[in-house]
């Protein structure tokens, strides 16, 4: 064990700062009283933004290296993902600020920060023990957040369901890790040397565990119920940052541990991607509740992202990272809109969105941007993200998978447009929408405007983001 040096501090700089911020939030939770506590949200969001800026300025990795005795990797891949998580946390904190029973509770923000901390570790973990700890550090706060609204039965159900599924798949994952340790004789992530059936068995166990995190079919059953029941900003966080963390582990684990079996596990993941996209999109068609619709849509998106993983090339990994950035911005915006609308209108039913374009043209337009980006329409981020994963698939010869993805994006377009139709075309009963405006509080206005602009910017000026993603992808090859 070498002595501590500055690189080690830099490697976990975001984690250290997140911890400090979490403690600060808990401290001010005691000090501030009543209405003042709403400022906890500003503190969390602002502090996280500051962490992001500080790490961007001084915490950038150089050559990839192992730190803390091989527990963590300090590289661009982890760095890129950490920025993604921080961004997700900022937006989620802003969205939480005006949710009743959530916004004035310091614990909620502290749990959010803890989960983000866990994700950061997930993205850079290079040791099985570390990885498992990171996953649990992420999951447990999220179980609590999902069930945070104790007097709401659906929220309690959401949290409980998430916990049960999470615990079960986590156990399977742990079993996979223990076998991996047994065969390689080391807990550090190294190339697995062994027979093909063994490798496939391990891949299967790991896919179960991570499939839950990224909500891939058939490990998706928790997602719609949990999203529907949990507080909307938390659902947004689950569907974006938490999913991105799952993909971070998936990429690092498979490309580091099983590079020589790439053909086999790529085939497994290709099937998984196909089923995930198709089932997610088909079930989304029938949804009446916006949060359930977004849940199935986020399942489908996990399928699209898996296409990039299947390609298992530099372009593939870069496209996954790019997709996750675009998707994070877009889906956070979508859930933010659902949260803003839900607290004003008191309903998450799609039918209740009728007349929204007259009640709040701005919110309706933000929804247009977010949903078209989800559908993969230019000039929004979702378009270029989809093109990139399909390009990666065609490059490595997965033409049929690209075609499946393309067909699925057509199905997707249908239900996204159906929601926009309600927003823009249908009217409220009585056709007096002007009397029911939807007030947007400052945190919502700030977050939604920023996200909408970001969706447009990433969709038009995509080169810098893609170059960063490519830089991160290089670390795996």
């Amino acid at each position: 064990m070498t002595a501590y040096n500055s690189t080690m501090i830099l490697a976990i700089l975001p984690e250290i700062l997140l911890l400090v911020l979490g403690v600060l939030v808990l401290l001010f939770d005691v000090v501030w009283k009543g209405e003042k506590r709403r400022a906890l949200g500003w503190l969390t969001a602002g502090g996280t933004a500051l962490i992001s800026i500080v790490t961007l300025l001084i915490g950038r990795p150089g050559e990839p290296q192992s730190v803390f005795g091989g527990m963590l990797r300090f590289d661009w891949l982890g760095f890129a993902f950490k920025q993604i998580f921080l961004l997700g946390a900022i937006a989620t904190a802003l969205f939480m600020m005006d949710i009743e029973k959530l916004s004035r509770r310091g614990q909620a923000y502290a749990l959010l920060l803890t989960a983000t901390l866990g994700m950061s570790l997930m993205a850079s973990a290079a040791d099985l023990v570390m990885l498992y700890l990171a996953i649990e550090t992420t999951s447990i706060p999220l179980y609590v957040l999902a069930g945070f609204l104790l007097d709401d039965d659906r929220s309690a159900e959401a949290g409980f369901k998430y916990l049960l599924f999470g615990a079960m798949t986590s156990a399977v994952l742990l079993y996979g890790f223990s076998l991996l340790y047994g065969f390689t004789g080391t807990t550090s992530l190294t190339s697995f040397v062994g027979s093909l059936p063994l490798a496939l068995g391990l891949v299967f166990l790991i896919v179960v565990g991570l499939g839950f995190k990224i909500s891939a079919v058939p490990f998706h059953f928790w997602a719609p119920d949990t999203y529907e029941g949990s507080p909307t900003p938390v659902a947004g966080f689950l569907s974006t940052a938490s999913k991105a963390a799952g993909f971070a582990v998936l990429l690092r684990l498979f490309l580091t541990a099983f590079p020589q079996f790439v053909e086999q596990w790529a085939a497994v993941l290709a099937v998984l991607a196909t089923v995930t996209m198709t089932v997610g999109n088909l079930l989304a068609l029938a949804q009446k509740n916006i949060k359930r619709l977004l849940a199935y849509s986020s399942i489908a998106h996990a399928g699209y992202i898996l296409i990039g993983v299947v390609a298992a090339s530099k372009l593939g990994v870069a496209s996954v990272i790019f997709y996750l950035i675009a998707y994070l911005l877009t889906n956070l915006a979508a859930f933010g809109i659902a949260a803003a609308f839900g607290r004003a209108a008191g309903s998450d039913e799609i039918a209740s969105y009728a007349g929204l374009s007259r009640r709040s043209p701005g919110l309706a337009f933000a929804m247009l941007v977010a949903f078209l980006s989800l559908a993969g329409m230019p000039p929004f981020g979702g378009f270029i993200a989809k093109v990139l994963v399909f390009t990666a698939a065609v490059e490595t010869g997965w033409v049929w998978l690209a075609v499946v993805g393309v067909v699925n994006s057509i199905i997707g377009l249908y239900y996204y447009l159906t929601v926009l139709k309600v927003v823009y075309l249908y009217r409220m009963e009585g056709e007096n929408e002007e009397q029911y405006p939807i007030p947007l509080t400052r945190p919502y206005a700030l977050a939604l405007t920023t996200l909408s602009i970001a969706i447009l910017v990433i969709g038009v000026l995509f080169a810098p983001w893609f170059d960063s993603a490519s830089l991160a992808a290089l670390n795996l090859f």
Binding site: S357, P361, V399, A402, I410, Y414, L420, Y424, L425, S470
Partner: protein, 491 residues
């Protein structure tokens, strides 16, 4: 660095659309004035490009601009126009301008209407000037999705939801099929670029071209209304509000034909030669079938919609000849039909706004109260029939000549459509404009306003001018055709 005129043309409507969205909703007049100013500016610039191209006898790709977009994948922002696309840029400017004039009276959320219409227009301009395959898709999709909202929100109450969804899904399916083909081209070429001027020289193997030509060509041709994928188009035309129908039939269908030409035929010439018989068969069926269906319509707007299918069939027919006359005719036909059908839909819209019906048997006597609209429709009708002296003749005559060279009997069969077209156009002129007005309409119909008149005059002038002086356009299109023939011959 030269003056980036094409970029300014593309971004004028996009920026104007965004600006309009920032206005308060109740500022309807300001919204309209801004829209008109932007449309006038775009029309002026596109006219300027056209005139420059014409008077300097330019050939090849002009006014080029290039900026790296995503260098890691060889994606660039590359614009430029040639003899084929310059008339289409002008056409878009004209239809956008007249579309704003005709839509002046829209009262339901004009802010959103003009914003979406302009985003659509920006996408259309973008496709016509694209020299990069990725960029072409980018703008193509931008041009497609606002259609959904424009039709679903401001369209004809009875069919708008159905028609809008049908149209969007058809076009989206077509474009993603083409996209897969484009990605295949990108990786197969091994050149690591989406630049079409370079992909032209990729030298794809004949087998590759034969496999991928049909998906790429037909994927785009869906938007060109090619039979048997034309089904969305009449429904879409009819359900759309007037300005959107004008855009849709006038410009968007050309977008499909143009992209099919640029990507399908020009990048995969060997595939085009191999499959030209199939395209010709589809096109010939569309020409005749569209004319017959138009003949039996009693709904005025459906009649115009099916006539568009028939006329766009002629464009595809010209493409399928792969010879000089046929392609020249198609190039001119795209412009001529765009202007003509925009005028048709404008007049239909004016009549519907006043009579509240489009059933031809219930209309009559419009010539007396709306003489401007009547004259406009008659001129459009003459263009549609291919009368000498009007732009339709300049376009259709070379197409039939070109087809005659390849397959004389197809030319004969297709020419049936001219007779049918003449029959239904003249019957409609008689019924709608010249027979006595039905009693229930008496006194309810008033003349069109001055903005509508400006639009009608502008559109008519273009058709007559081009018909009288074909050299205003033919040499330009010919230079574009020569370039295509070079690719076809060199492959």
């Amino acid at each position: 660095m030269t003056f980036p005129i094409l970029s300014i043309i593309v971004f004028t409507p996009l920026v104007a659309g965004m600006l309009i969205l920032l206005f308060p909703a109740e500022r309807k007049t300001e919204v309209r004035v801004t829209a008109l100013a932007a449309a006038t500016f775009a029309l002026f610039l596109s006219g300027w490009v056209y005139v420059q191209y014409l008077i300097n006898n330019l050939t090849g790709y002009q006014f080029q601009e290039y900026v790296d977009w995503l260098p890691a994948l060889g994606i660039g922002y590359h614009v430029g126009v040639d003899g084929m696309s310059t008339p289409l840029v002008l056409l878009t400017g004209v239809v956008m301008f007249t579309g704003v004039l005709i839509s002046w009276g829209i009262e339901d959320r004009p802010r959103e209407f003009f914003a979406f219409l302009f985003i659509l227009a920006g996408g259309v301009f973008g496709v016509f000037v694209s020299l990069d395959l990725f960029q072409l898709f980018f703008f193509y999709e931008i041009a497609v999705f606002p259609m959904y909202l424009l039709i679903a929100i401001w369209g004809w109450v009875k069919t708008r939801e159905y028609a809008a969804m049908k149209l969007t899904l058809y076009l989206f399916v077509g474009s993603v099929v083409s996209l897969v083909g484009a990605l295949a081209m990108y990786w197969t070429s091994g050149m690591h670029t989406f630049d079409m001027l370079q992909l032209e020289r990729a030298g794809f193997t004949p087998e590759f071209q034969r496999i991928w030509f049909l998906p790429v060509f037909l994927g785009f041709a869906v938007l060109g209304g090619i039979w048997p994928f034309h089904n969305w188009s009449p429904d879409g035309h009819v359900a759309a509000p007037t300005a959107v129908s004008m855009f849709h039939a006038g410009v968007l269908m050309k977008l499909g034909a143009f992209a099919a030409l640029r990507v399908g035929i020009m990048l995969l010439p060997e595939g085009a030669k191999y499959w030209s018989w199939l395209i010709m068969a589809f096109a010939a069926i569309a020409v005749v079938y569209g004319a017959f269906i138009a003949f039996v319509q009693t709904d005025f707007k459906y009649m115009v919609g099916f006539s568009s299918v028939s006329h766009m069939g002629l464009v595809m027919l010209g493409f399928s000849t792969l010879n000089s006359q046929g392609l020249l005719g198609s190039g001119v036909q795209m412009f001529s039909h765009g202007v003509m059908t925009a005028l048709f839909f404008a007049v239909v819209g004016m009549i519907y706004d006043r009579a509240h019906t489009r059933e031809i048997p219930e209309l009559g006597g419009m010539a007396k109260v709306m003489p401007f609209a009547a004259i406009g429709f008659i001129i459009g009708g003459l263009v549609s029939m291919g009368m000498p002296g009007f732009s339709g003749f300049v376009a259709e005559f070379p197409i039939f000549m070109g087809v005659w060279h390849v397959q004389p009997w197809v030319a004969i069969v297709a020419s049936i459509s001219i007779v049918i077209t003449a029959a239904y156009i003249m019957r409609n002129i008689r019924d709608v404009f010249f027979r006595p007005m039905p009693e229930h309409l008496e006194g309810h119909i008033h003349d069109v306003n001055v903005l509508d008149k400006i639009a009608i005059v502008l559109l008519c002038l273009l058709m007559v001018g081009l018909g009288m002086i074909p050299s205003l356009m033919v040499p330009m299109v010919q230079s574009g055709v020569d370039n295509i023939l070079r690719l076809l011959g060199g492959a």
